[in-house]
């Protein structure tokens, strides 16, 4: 059965590219365009993995991550942060909150992202 991946990303173009790439790899993609929707869908859809952007309108990615980790129904889902915040403090903060990996968008190609996702879902 195809694994479900929730992508929480406000930039429609970036979200579309990742969706296309991962769909082609056989994953079932669920999209959320802001933090609130992300928290809701993480709880309702119980995806196998979450790709989370950090700079989001209203509720930012750090808060989304904290909320997911507090949610008994969603806290076991691995979360990969997918952001362009590249400062050490941001990376440390994200990892401390329980992310399994931190991908800096401008430094990774879609293929590399697919590899990371596959490695975690193995």
């Amino acid at each position: 059965m195809a694994k479900n991946i929730l992508i929480i990303e406000d930039d429609e173009f970036l979200r579309g590219l990742i969706n296309k790439k991962l769909t082609a790899e056989g994953f079932n993609m669920i999209s959320a365009i802001d933090g609130e929707e992300g928290i809701k869908k993480a709880n309702e859809e119980k995806p196998d993995l979450i790709l989370l952007d950090l700079v989001l309108p209203n509720v930012d990615g750090f808060e989304v991550l904290a909320k997911i980790k507090e949610d008994p129904g969603a806290k076991a889902i691995p979360v990969i942060i997918l952001s362009n915040l590249s400062q050490k403090e941001d990376i440390d903060k994200g990892m401390k909150l329980g992310a399994v990996d931190y991908i800096i968008k401008a430094q990774f190609t879609p293929e590399e992202i697919v590899e990371k996702v596959k490695a975690i879902l193995k």
Partner: protein, 428 residues
């Protein structure tokens, strides 16, 4: 003084007249033609005259003294007036000074405070002279400052957030002839500056983030075109997209460099040090540049040390970016068929890296500026127009923050050699 001389002359003549009168009378007395009483009378008048003269001279001296004293008094009065003016002037400066000034005496009591300091500290009471500093905390919301006011350490400078102000606090001990006279406390209101700084930094970060989102979407799109995610592409389309991809990568590199340079200026450039084998870094950088090396037919020689060097405590990513930057420069500014030599050695204390090219070199007159921000040599600009002039600025910062040093030797049209050393402390 001619008047005095005239008096003295008169006194002299009268004396001569009286002396001669005495002599004549004495002579007449010896001859028996004058009586003794005459002589006594003359001598008596002489004595009176002498006493009078002395009295006159003394009076004259006293007069002189009096005028002297008068002058002195006048001079003192003038001095006093001047010091009064000076005092008023200093007091005006003190009152109207745009920075808060507070002087605390040796018993930790307020000795002087200007209106600006009162405003910053939110003190409404009129006269607080003599009030213990400890009690100031009760007057307003300046509790966070009190420990600094009382601190025993030497001069200090710190930024502190108060309710309505952000204050830069300077505490300067007042020591006079080795005696503690209390402290001078200067309160500078930096509220506006801090807000502006923050707005500026937030603005730049937001722009950088938007730029990064754009370059990321371009990067992902190009890569997906190249891997056929959007269908088959022609050879020409592939070539163009490959070039676009490289341009975009250069842009990402530039944005990261700008962000790094900004962080360096702000003093918030952090390192994540682990034990690293520097030889691995060099080898991975050579692999990274394989395409460029092949396309320019450049010969690479890596002279490795006879045995593996011990691992050193460094920030792997940042040192790798330094090696990458030096390698990139060597390849960029060396013509086709040139040679780039890399040396790695250690003397036990330091690990030394050297990269030597047969490229265009750096003109002598521009060599002192090589490590400054945004600098690019004129001959380098001709060969490669893109380049931010940030790479070596950042490299120097990184190496120096690792307690190492970086330098170069270069001759125009012959080539350049860049060196850096890193201390081997913290080895396995």
């Amino acid at each position: 003084m001619p008047k005095i001389f005239l008096y003295l002359l008169i006194i002299f003549f009268i004396s001569v007249f009286l002396v001669s009168l005495t002599v004549i009378n004495f002579w007449l007395f010896i001859n028996g033609s004058a009586k003794l009483i005459y002589i006594i009378a003359v001598i008596f008048s002489f004595a009176i005259f002498f006493a009078g003269s002395c009295f006159f001279i003394k009076i004259n001296d006293l007069k002189k003294e009096k005028t002297g004293l008068g002058h002195l008094l006048e001079k003192n009065e003038r001095k006093f007036k001047n010091s009064e003016i000076e005092k008023n002037r200093i007091s005006e400066v003190f009152i109207n000074f745009n920075e808060g000034i507070l002087v605390v005496d040796e018993n930790e009591k307020v000795s002087l405070i200007n209106p600006r300091a009162k405003k910053i500290l939110g003190i409404k009471a009129k006269d607080i002279k003599g009030l213990p500093v400890m009690d100031l905390g009760r007057l307003s919301d300046i509790k966070p400052l009190i420990p600094h006011f009382l601190s025993l350490s030497g001069a200090l400078k710190e930024e502190i957030n108060l309710r309505n102000f952000i204050v830069e606090l300077s505490v300067i001990p007042l020591i006079f002839e080795e005696k503690n006279m209390g402290k001078l406390i200067i309160l500078r209101d930096t509220t506006r500056e801090s807000l502006l700084e923050k707005t500026k930094a937030d603005f730049i970060l937001s722009v950088v983030h938007q730029l990064k989102t754009s370059v990321s979407s371009a990067k992902w799109s190009f890569k997906m075109f190249l891997s056929g995610d959007f269908g088959k592409i022609s050879k020409e389309q592939k070539d163009v997209i490959e070039r676009l991809y490289k341009r975009n990568e250069a842009l990402i590199y530039l944005i990261n460099n700008l962000l790094d340079a900004m962080k360096i200026e702000e003093g918030v450039y952090f390192y994540n040090k682990t034990l690293v084998d520097i030889q691995d870094i060099i080898q991975s950088v050579i692999v990274y540049f394989q395409d460029k090396i092949k396309s320019k037919k450049i010969k690479i020689e890596f002279k490795k040390p006879s045995e593996r060097l011990p691992r050193i405590m460094i920030d792997k990513e940042k040192i790798e970016s330094v090696v990458q930057n030096l390698f990139d420069n060597a390849l960029k500014y060396t013509g086709e068929g040139g040679i780039v030599r890399i040396f790695l050695e250690t003397d036990g204390k330091n690990t030394e890296f050297q990269i030597k090219d047969s490229g265009i070199g750096i003109p002598k007159d521009q060599q002192p500026k090589v490590f400054s921000k945004f600098f690019r040599a004129a001959n380098a600009n001709k060969i490669e127009t893109s380049g931010s002039g940030l790479g070596l600025f950042i490299a120097k910062k990184i190496i120096e923050d690792h307690n190492g040093s970086i330098w170069f030797e270069s001759e125009e049209n012959k080539g350049s050699a860049f060196y850096f050393t890193l201390p081997t402390e913290g080895v396995e």
